[in-house]
């Protein structure tokens, strides 16, 4: 069915065809390119390993962030029980930021998982198609006249070639996405190294807002932090005291544990 397909499919088909290197004699395609196929299969295996590595790294970050969320919540509670609403707010902002990151990590891990599964399936399918071709070729040679066999084998070779090109495309796409996630994971590591999630909320010290605090302030949703702060106040105060609107720390609060 030549000349078939709309504009989009035609572009993609020619792209796939470009990925195929066809041997001079199609019936010999697989004989000559055996090494190439094995290389491709190896590459797919390596691609899968890369995806798994990236996934593990993201999962490690998930664990760290989960611990941070718990820690920051505890710190906010401590700060508030000592009347330091400013510190509590900073801790909650950091907690909120960590939670947002966690959410996006969850999505990324899920996406990597589905990529991993997809590549494994493609690799198995390609392997089986290559094997099919090998057996089929012998059967065709035995059953048909030389001319007919050549046509049939060449058709089958095109089918295998297309499958190889398609696996190549799937792998490339998976790796490109993994690359993006790695860059993001790297950025998270830097942020962590810069202390965004560090245990540096020293109660009792002045702790002026540094750059990270200012950034967090911009990044986190104030209303979520306000709600969180109200929740902690209710928990700590048993709901008796209405929240004071003033940020002037400590003045007039009785509950301080000197």
């Amino acid at each position: 069915m030549p000349g078939m397909g709309g504009r989009m499919s035609v572009v993609i088909k020619s792209k796939i065809n470009k990925l195929l290197d066809r041997a001079e004699d199609p019936s010999e395609t697989l004989e000559y390119s055996y090494q190439k196929q094995m290389e491709l299969l190896q590459n797919v295996k390596k691609g899968i390993a890369d995806v798994v590595t990236s996934k593990k790294r993201l999962q490690l970050q998930q664990q760290k962030l989960e611990q941070q969320v718990v820690k920051l919540d505890t710190q906010a509670r401590q700060a508030l029980s000592q009347g330091r609403e400013d510190l509590a707010r900073t801790a909650l902002e950091r907690k909120q930021f960590a939670q947002n990151e966690l959410q996006s990590l969850d999505q990324q891990v899920a996406e990597l998982e589905s990529q991993q599964a997809g590549l494994i399936e493609k690799e198995q399918k390609l392997r089986s198609k290559i094997e099919q071709f090998r057996t089929k070729k012998e059967v065709i040679k035995a059953q048909y006249s030389a001319a007919e066999a050549s046509v049939k084998i060449s058709e089958a070779a095109s089918g295998v070639g297309e499958e190889m090109a398609d696996v190549g495309m799937a792998m490339q796409r998976a790796l490109d996405k993994t690359e993006d996630m790695r860059a993001r994971a790297g950025a998270m590591d830097e942020l962590e190294a810069a202390g965004a999630f560090d245990d540096n909320l020293q109660l009792g010290t002045g702790s002026g807002t540094d750059d990270i605090d200012r950034e967090l302030h911009q990044l986190t949703s104030q209303s979520v932090v306000d709600d969180d702060l109200a929740r902690l106040k209710a928990e700590l105060g048993g709901g008796s005291e209405p929240a004071k609107p003033s940020l002037e720390s400590g003045s007039g609060e009785q509950e301080r544990g000197a």
Partner: protein, 92 residues
């Protein structure tokens, strides 16, 4: 006819579907050219649905070249714009 959804699978479809598929395809490219992302995704989804619902996946031992190859299902609008508009189609 045999249709491949790139990075997914090959399907055998009734030949009658060819015209519908071509129409959707050309409309999808028109949407890309018009910068209409929602419309593009809608049309592309319709193409994928048509192939998946009307088509039967090829058997393991079938080794055939596709008559039509659709882009990968996770194609982004940015990718579609890069591939299907601009150079050669509508020179800017």
């Amino acid at each position: 006819m045999i249709v491949r959804i790139a990075t997914e699978s090959q399907y055998r479809l009734p030949d009658e579907d060819a015209e519908r598929l071509n129409d959707l395809d050309n409309e999808a490219v028109a949407a890309v050219e018009a910068g209409d992302e929602d419309r593009f995704h809608e049309l592309f989804e319709q193409m994928l649905d048509l192939v998946r619902s009307d088509g039967h996946p090829l058997e393991e031992d079938e080794l055939a070249e596709s008559d039509v190859i659709l882009p990968p299902p996770d194609l982004s609008f940015v990718e579609a714009t890069a591939e299907f508009s601009g150079e050669g189609l509508i020179p800017d």
